[in-house]
Amino acid sequence: MVKVTYVAADGTRTEVDAPPGSNVMQTALDNDVDGIVGECGGAMMCATCHCYVDEDWSDATGARRDGEDDMLDCAADEVRPNSRLSCQIRLTEGLDGLVVHLPEEQV
């Protein structure tokens, strides 16, 4: 299992275990983590799964995927250099311990 910590905009931390192969958006929904909507189910169509990757993890999660920039342009909250679409971050063993921060708004 891969441990993922979600830090809500108000600072609340939720730690969950996910099977490798899942993604950060799906894992949030499966574990009832508020703050990620994931309306299009990971099809890169909605930008309601916006997250900020913790600085310690930006190398491990890698660069944005093709088209992610354009989607993030339409995110509801401020886009920062560490902004990602959480549906595009696939969980591998190497991401065990991953920390992501959630924006205040997704829609």
Binding site: E39, G41, M45, D70, C74
Partner: protein, 389 residues
């Protein structure tokens, strides 16, 4: 308002329940759905699920979510009738009162009146998809009836998995209702390039054990026959309750039926297109979720806006992601930009943009279409650069 009941626990019904809680509704929310199990998303049924068979990945929210948000989810239960005078409905042998009712009953697969239609498989529900997937357990010959999004997505997956695929479409081109002739042609090339045989303008006359027969007389041998010839909205409940039905449950610009206690959303609702005013019914995740948002805000008195969201849609076929922003009408003019992006115009005004693997133009289009009308002459002057108009 204390009791809100939502009929249909699909994409839009669930979204309505979620929005109501998120927007602060403190009363009782009951979500009743005819299908068994937790609400799930349909788009992957004709895409990733056919390959992976992972039903868990389709689930929209886990069981604990409904408890946490205090949403009463009743599954495997069909609502039989609505008593508008008493503001109650009958489901599973009991009566349920409502202050407001939201119809989110979606659509079901259309069965054309041809002999043997019942021999064909469907692709609408998870149950359908599981059956279809099981039928593809060894190399098969597949016949697909209907060249719309679902038939084509299935064809692409089946070919990628190594099955033989023949597709028959009654119209002279693919996805004819939804896209320009240029996009139809492009996708015809894609599918033929993958080895799918496509018959256009040749409606199916018969399904027989072992294949299908077309109007031209062509017989297509197939062990697996998929019926993907469109859908019909589930309007019987509304019609029996005396609500207006015309290719869907008729609602006004605020998504309200003639009964102020009943709204309708998503695939089953016919609403005035915000641009043209003509009645439209959309089958998309976008419409279902944006409708749900608007209804929730109206019910909680947060806003009383007319529905004006820009439609968007996608379809994944092999490595081509088709994205559509806006809504074109048959007969809209078409301009193809040098890079392949397709702009549609109605009376000189941008109505829709069709792109393939071009998220940038798609998102620019969505933003642009949400604002003041984009005029063809302005776009022409700007070399069709959306960022420059």
């Amino acid at each position: 308002m204390r009791e809100i009941v939502i009929v249909g626990a699909g994409q839009g019904g669930l979204q309505a329940a979620m929005c109501l809680r998120q927007d602060g509704f403190a009363g009782r929310i009951t979500l009743i759905g005819a299908e068994a199990g937790l609400p799930y998303q349909r788009p992957p049924l004709s895409k990733a699920y056919l390959k992976s068979g992972d039903a868990g990945a389709l689930q929209l929210r886990p069981a604990s979510f409904f408890e946490k948000k205090d949403i009463t989810l009743i599954t495997g239960t069909r609502v039989d009738s609505i008593d508008r005078a008493a503001r109650s409905l009958r489901a599973g042998g009991r009566d349920l009162r409502y202050d407001h009712l939201i119809l989110a009953t979606g659509t079901r697969n259309l069965r054309p009146p041809i002999p043997g239609a019942d021999l064909a498989l469907d692709l609408r529900t998870l149950e359908d998809a599981a059956r279809l997937r099981a039928a593809l357990d060894r190399p098969r010959r597949c016949a697909v009836i209907g060249g719309g999004f679902i038939g084509l997505e299935f064809a692409a997956v089946a070919r990628a998995l190594g099955h033989e695929v023949t597709l028959a479409e009654a119209a002279p081109r693919l996805m004819a209702r939804a896209v320009s002739a240029e996009t139809s042609a492009r996708f015809l090339g894609l599918h033929e390039g993958m080895g799918t045989r496509v018959h256009l303008g040749d409606p199916v006359r018969e399904v027989f054990p072992g294949g299908i027969r077309l109007a031209s007389g062509t017989r297509i041998e197939a062990e697996v026959v998929l019926m993907a010839a469109g859908v019909t909205p589930n309007t019987e409940l509304a019609a029996a309750a005396g609500l207006a039905v015309d290719n869907g449950v008729v609602v006004d610009g605020r998504l309200l039926t003639a009964d102020p206690a009943i709204s309708a959303l998503g695939d089953c609702a016919v609403f005035p297109d915000p641009v043209s005013g003509r009645p439209v019914r959309l089958e998309s995740v976008q419409a279902a979720t944006d409708h749900a948002r608007l209804i929730s805000r109206r019910l909680l008195g947060m806003a009383d806006d007319r529905y004006d969201a820009v439609p968007w849609f996608w379809s994944d076929q092999a490595d081509s992601k088709l994205q559509i922003a806006g809504l074109a009408t048959a007969g809209d003019e078409t301009v193809t930009r040098g890079d392949g992006a397709i702009f549609r115009f109605n009376a000189g005004r941008l109505s829709a943009v069709e792109t393939v693997n071009d998220a940038r133009t798609h998102m620019q289009s969505r933003k642009r279409l949400a604002g003041a009308p984009v005029l063809r002459r302005h776009l022409e002057a700007a070399g069709f650069d959306l960022a420059a108009v």
